[in-house]
C-alpha cells in the first residue's frame, strides 16, 4: 500500500519537475495575458498612462465601428473561401500522389516547395506576380486572351488576389493528407475492391472516414491561421485599397500600435479569442459524429 502511494507520489513529483518550464510559461505568457487583456478591454489605456476603467464603452464602440465590421467581413470572406478550397486542393493532390506513379517523389517535393517560401518572401514575390503592368499573372491570362484586372490595386479584386495566393501553399496540407492516406490499411481497400466497390465507394466509405482526423485537424488549424492573417496585409496592401484587405488582426495591430489604444484593441483581442473558441467548439461538436478514430477510443 505505502509502496504504491510513494510510487504515485514519485511519478507526480517528476512529472511536475519536467513540465515546470511549460507551466511557468503558460502562467506568464498565456494565462496572465489572457486575463489582463480581459481587464484592459474594460479600460481606456494607452500603455504609458495607467488604465482607466470605462465599463463596456470599448465594446459598444467596436460594434458601432464601421472599420470593425469591415475587418470582420474581409476576414470571414477570406476564410470561407481560402480554407475550404485549400483543403480540397491539398486532399486532391494527396489522392493523386497516393498512387504508384512515375516522378512521384519529384511531384511531392515540388508541391511542397512553395510552402517553404511563406511569410514576407512569398508576399514580395506575389506582389510582383499581381502587378497589373509587368506581373506574371496577367501575362499568363493573356495567353488565353483574358484581360487581367488590376488585382492588388483595385478594391474589387485585392482580396481575391490574396485568396488565390493562399492556394499556392496547399502543398503543406497535402503532406499531412498523404501521411494520413498512407496510414489507411491496404487490406481494407483490397477487401472492398473484391466486394466490387468502385473507386468512389472506396473513397467515401473507407478512405474519407480513415483520414477524417487529419481533415478535422487541418480544418481547425486552417481556420485559426486564416483568422490571423497579417503579413500579406502589412506587406502587400497595407489594408487597402479602400480597406478591401483590412483584415481583423491588421485592424487590431493598427489600433493597438499605431493609435496606442490598448484598451480598445484588447476588446478586439477578446472578441477574436471568443470567436476562435466558438468555431473550434462547434466544429469539434459537429465532427463527433463524422470523425473516425482508430480503435474507437477518443481523446
Amino acid at each position: 500500500m505505502t509502496v504504491i502511494k510513494s510510487e504515485s507520489r514519485r511519478q507526480t513529483f517528476y512529472m511536475y519537475m519536467f513540465i515546470s518550464p511549460w507551466l511557468i510559461g503558460f502562467l506568464v505568457f498565456a494565462l496572465y495575458p489572457i486575463l489582463s487583456s480581459l481587464y484592459y478591454s474594460f479600460t481606456d489605456y494607452d500603455i504609458i498612462h495607467p488604465p482607466r476603467f470605462i465599463g463596456l464603452a470599448n465594446y459598444t464602440e467596436m460594434f458601432d465601428s464601421e472599420l470593425f465590421w469591415k475587418s470582420v467581413t474581409v476576414t470571414l470572406k477570406y476564410t470561407f473561401i481560402s480554407v475550404p478550397v485549400q483543403l480540397l486542393l491539398a486532399l486532391g493532390f494527396a489522392l493523386l500522389l497516393n498512387q504508384t506513379l512515375p516522378l512521384r517523389g519529384f511531384f511531392r517535393t515540388a508541391m511542397y516547395f512553395p510552402s517553404m517560401v511563406s511569410g514576407v518572401a512569398m508576399s514580395l514575390l506575389w506582389y510582383w506576380i499581381f502587378n497589373p503592368q509587368i506581373g506574371l499573372f496577367n501575362y499568363m491570362l493573356s495567353w488565353f486572351g483574358i484581360p487581367g484586372p488590376a488585382w492588388l490595386m483595385s478594391p474589387d479584386t485585392a482580396l481575391y488576389a490574396l485568396i488565390i495566393m493562399s492556394f499556392w501553399t496547399a502543398g503543406a496540407g497535402m503532406i499531412l493528407f498523404l501521411a494520413g492516406l498512407q496510414g489507411v490499411p491496404g487490406s481494407l481497400i483490397e477487401a472492398a475492391r473484391l466486394d466490387g466497390a468502385g473507386r468512389l465507394r472506396i473513397f467515401v466509405n473507407i478512405t474519407l472516414p480513415m483520414i477524417s482526423p487529419v481533415l478535422l485537424f487541418q480544418l481547425i488549424m486552417g481556420l485559426i491561421d486564416s483568422f490571423q492573417v497579417f503579413t500579406q496585409a502589412f506587406v502587400m496592401t497595407q489594408g487597402g485599397p479602400n480597406y478591401s484587405t483590412w483584415f481583423y488582426v491588421y485592424n487590431l495591430y493598427t489600433s493597438a500600435f499605431k493609435e496606442y489604444r490598448a484598451g480598445y484593441s484588447s476588446a478586439l483581442a477578446w472578441v477574436l479569442l471568443i470567436v476562435v473558441m466558438l468555431f473550434t467548439a462547434v466544429i469539434m461538436k459537429l465532427s463527433n459524429r463524422y470523425v473516425h478514430y482508430e480503435g474507437g477510443g477518443r481523446r
Binding site: 500603455i47 493532390f93 500522389l97 515540388a110 514575390l125 498512407q182 482526423p213 488582426v249 493597438a256
Partner: protein, 293 residues
C-alpha cells in the same frame, strides 16, 4: 509508431492493377504535371527575375531568362537594405529560438509522456488548447509586460518565450516519447540512472527525427515571423529579415525595386531550403507524427 514506417513509400495499389495502363493514372499524371508546372512557375520567375537588370524588369511580357545576367543585384541588396545585418539578426534569433524550443519542449514532453502524475491529463488538455490560442489575442498584455521589463528593442521578447516550451512541439515530442519501449528505462534505472540522465542519455538520442522536426519547425517559424519583431524592434540595426524586407514595398520607393524584392526573397529562402534538404526524411516523418492524433 507503426505509422512512421507505413508512411515511407507504400502506395495502396493492388497487384492486379499495376500492369495495365490505367486511364485514371494517366489522367492523374497529366493533372500533376500541370499543377506542378503552375506551382513552380512563380519560383522560376523569382530566381530569374532576381538576375534581371532594372530596365529588363519593367518589360512586359516578362522574359523567361535574363537577357544579361545582373549578378550585381545580389551585392546591391547589401547596400540598399543592410541585408547582412538583417540576415545576422534573423540567424541569431532563429538559432536561439531553436535551442530554447528544443530544450524546453523536450523536457516538458518527457514529463507528459513518462510520468503518470496527478493532473497529467488535465494539464495536457490545457496544453493542447493553447495550440488554438491566437497570438494577437495575447500580444498587448505581453507587450506591456515586456516593456515593464525594459525588453523593448532587444531580442529578448523574441527569444525568451521559446525557452518555456511551445504547445505544438511539446505535443509532437510527447507522441514520440510515448512510443519508446519501457524496458529501456527499466534497464537505465537498474544501472542507477537518475531521471534527468535517462532523459538525456536514453530518450533524446532515440528521438533524433522528432527533434529534427521540432528544430526545423521552430526555425521556420522564427525566420518567417513578422508580427512579433514589428512590435518589439524599433532601431533598424536590430531589424530581422522579414521586417527589413517588408520595407521594400513601402512608399519611399516611387517604383518598387522589383529586382531587389526577388533577390531578398531568394536569399531568405536559402536557409529554409538547406534545412529541408538536409533533414527532409526526418521532417516528413515528424509531420506524419503531428498529422495523426
Amino acid at each position: 509508431m507503426s505509422i512512421v514506417k507505413a508512411a515511407s513509400s507504400r502506395a495502396p495499389s493492388s497487384l492486379a492493377h499495376r500492369r495495365k495502363a490505367d486511364p485514371v493514372k494517366i489522367a492523374s499524371f497529366a493533372a500533376l504535371l500541370i499543377t506542378t508546372f503552375l506551382m513552380l512557375l512563380p519560383l522560376f520567375f523569382m530566381v530569374s527575375t532576381s538576375l534581371k537588370s532594372k530596365r529588363e524588369m519593367l518589360k512586359f511580357p516578362p522574359t523567361f531568362l535574363p537577357e544579361s545576367w545582373a549578378w550585381s543585384n545580389y551585392t546591391e541588396i547589401f547596400d540598399t537594405l543592410q541585408f547582412g545585418t538583417l540576415y545576422k539578426n534573423s540567424l541569431i534569433i532563429g538559432v536561439l529560438t531553436v535551442i530554447g524550443t528544443l530544450l524546453s519542449s523536450a523536457l516538458v514532453a518527457y514529463g507528459f509522456a513518462r510520468y503518470r502524475g496527478r493532473g497529467n491529463q488535465l494539464w495536457f488538455i490545457l496544453l493542447l488548447s493553447t495550440m488554438m490560442l491566437p497570438y494577437p489575442a495575447i500580444m498587448i498584455p505581453q507587450f506591456v509586460l515586456f516593456s515593464k521589463m525594459q525588453w523593448i528593442d532587444t531580442f529578448l521578447p523574441l527569444v525568451v518565450p521559446a525557452f518555456f516550451g511551445s504547445a505544438y512541439n511539446i505535443f509532437l515530442l510527447r507522441q514520440f516519447f510515448s512510443t519508446l519501449p519501457e524496458e529501456l528505462f527499466d534497464a537505465g534505472r537498474i544501472d542507477g540512472c537518475g531521471e534527468l540522465r535517462m532523459w538525456r542519455t536514453i530518450a533524446l538520442p532515440l528521438s533524433a527525427p522528432a527533434l529534427a522536426t521540432v528544430a526545423i519547425f521552430a526555425f521556420i517559424y522564427s525566420w518567417n515571423d513578422l508580427l512579433t519583431p514589428v512590435l518589439y524592434l524599433s532601431s533598424s540595426d536590430k531589424f530581422t529579415l522579414p521586417v527589413g524586407m517588408a520595407s521594400l514595398t513601402s512608399s519611399r520607393f516611387r517604383i518598387p525595386p522589383w529586382h531587389l524584392l526577388m533577390v531578398a526573397s531568394v536569399l531568405a529562402m536559402v536557409p529554409i531550403v538547406t534545412l529541408f534538404a538536409i533533414a527532409q526524411k526526418q521532417f516528413v516523418e515528424g509531420i506524419v507524427l503531428t498529422g495523426i492524433k
